[in-house]
């Protein structure tokens, strides 16, 4: 199940303080929770439900009803938050992209070094390990981030390019310490494009759990431009 955590608008204390996992639904009746918190809670549930419903029904069949039911809200509540299915999809994509980047950056920071300082392929391996662990733990979010979007979700293409640029910048930084020469323009982005497509193939084949085993292969592939120079 996609994890829900309240990261904003939360009171410092109380049942829904920042960072605590959220329940799938709020307590019934008068609970005294501020309206803005209730709405944020609904929105987060809808974003999680979007990825889950997509995983279950696929782009061909997923509907706003599937999402609302999973999020335990009415369809009218869905439309209070999002104009249509594709708006919800875009918001879910952006949230998932932020989480992926945060996982990678967090793993690199946990090593106690900036990526640049790790050198060789160490930072790259840390980043790849973190990304593949994320995809293995959250295969629906992995599918959302890596699959080609349908025609109706054209805004997703722009969001996807932003994610590719962020990941390509991270990849480029992993080479910063031992490669003074700038990489050819666009190569890092092409490498990330190919990585996401590769991940998508594995996820589509139902191999999410085995993704972390592919980390050494992916590191070797992504490190090849540096090694082959």
């Amino acid at each position: 199940m996609t994890e829900l955590r309240l990261v904003a608008l939360a009171a410092e204390e109380g049942p829904f303080s920042a960072g605590t996992p959220l329940p799938r639904r709020l307590p019934p009746g008068r609970h005294g929770i501020p309206t803005n918190l209730v709405e944020e809670h609904q929105r987060l549930r809808l974003l999680a439900a979007m990825a889950e419903a997509l995983g279950e029904h696929g782009y061909a069949d997923v509907t706003t009803t599937h999402i609302s039911e999973r999020a335990n809200v009415s369809t009218s509540t869905f439309y209070k938050h999002f104009g249509n299915l594709w708006d919800c999809l875009l918001a879910a994509y952006v949230a998932a992209a932020d989480r992926l980047c945060a996982e990678i950056e967090g793993a690199c920071a946990e090593r106690g070094d900036e990526p640049e300082a790790v050198g060789e392929s160490g930072a790259l391996a840390t980043g790849i390990d973190a990304a593949l662990a994320f995809f293995a733990a959250e295969p629906e979010l992995g599918q959302l981030l890596s699959a080609q979007a349908p025609r109706e979700a054209s805004a997703l293409c722009a969001a996807r390019r932003i994610l590719i640029s962020r990941l390509a910048a991270m990849l480029h930084r992993t080479r910063g310490a031992d490669d003074d020469a700038p990489q050819p323009s666009g190569l890092d982005e092409r490498l990330i494009d190919a990585t996401l497509a590769f991940v998508n193939t594995r996820l589509s084949a139902g191999d999410a759990e085995r993704l972390p085993e592919l980390a050494p292969e992916l590191v070797a592939i992504l490190d090849r431009p540096r090694v082959a120079a």
Partner: protein, 236 residues
């Protein structure tokens, strides 16, 4: 370093072309399949219907359902037929020239040419297949494996110390697909030619070395200029 004929021939064998003479009924069926790909590429898989396919291809609803169980079935069968043809035409282009790099470049240029000429079909084959899933997606994955195997033929020319990782072929094909999808989603399929030099650099550096990859990027750039010159000459 030739792209080995046998690798491509093996891929071709597994993807045979129908050689039986067309009948009036098979021609209608073929038209319905092309219509399904065209319409799905134009309006998207979710919005397409049997009615919209028949508006494009002509023919009758009853006859359509004699050929296919559903639009999903029609798409899956159309996908299989057209993916076979596309893979074969790309591999044929690849083996028509000498050398692995030139072969990959020729194959990619054939792919790009097809996408530019039939962008709606391209969208159906590369983008909407992920929406449809099911049998069509399984066919897509098989085609990806075949192209990856053909690319991997260069391994025979590489020493064991320099051998690329085992998943390189699949990785590179993923990069090619994203490149095609981006150009198609952009709405200007001709933009795909801009991507050829960096794509060839990615493919070459994934198997060989950075110097060869830089040379290949230049060769691809020259090839793109030739294509553009021909296009401009043709449009005058």
């Amino acid at each position: 370093m030739a792209m080995r004929q046998e690798a491509c021939a093996a891929a071709g064998e597994a993807l045979p072309i129908e050689t039986t003479a067309p009948t009036p009924d098979s021609t209608v069926r073929e038209g319905e399949m092309e219509g399904a790909l065209q319409v799905i590429g134009e309006v998207g898989y979710r919005a397409a219907s049997v009615r919209s396919v028949l508006e494009y291809s002509g023919g009758h609803r009853k006859q359509f359902y004699e050929h296919f169980e559903s639009l999903e079935d029609c798409f899956a069968q159309a996908y299989e037929a057209w993916a076979k043809r596309l893979v074969l035409s790309v591999l044929e282009a690849a083996v028509s020239v000498e050398g692995w790099r030139a072969g990959v470049r020729a194959g990619l240029m054939k792919l790009f040419q097809t996408v530019v000429e039939r962008p709606a079909i391209g969208r159906a084959l590369f983008i909407e297949v992920h929406v449809a899933g099911g049998k069509a997606l399984a066919t897509h994955d098989e085609a990806v494996d075949r192209v990856a195997d053909a690319l991997d033929s260069v391994r025979n020319e590489i020493g064991p110390d320099d051998a690329p990782p085992s998943q390189t072929g699949l990785f590179v094909v993923g990069g090619i697909e994203v490149c095609v999808c981006d150009a198609l989603a952009d709405g200007d399929p001709n933009r795909i030619w801009d991507a050829l030099p960096e794509l060839m650099r990615l493919i070459t550096v994934s198997y060989l070395d950075a110097q060869t990859a830089a040379e290949e990027a230049e060769a691809a750039r020259a090839a793109v200029e030739e294509v553009r010159a021909k296009l401009e000459g043709g449009s005058r």
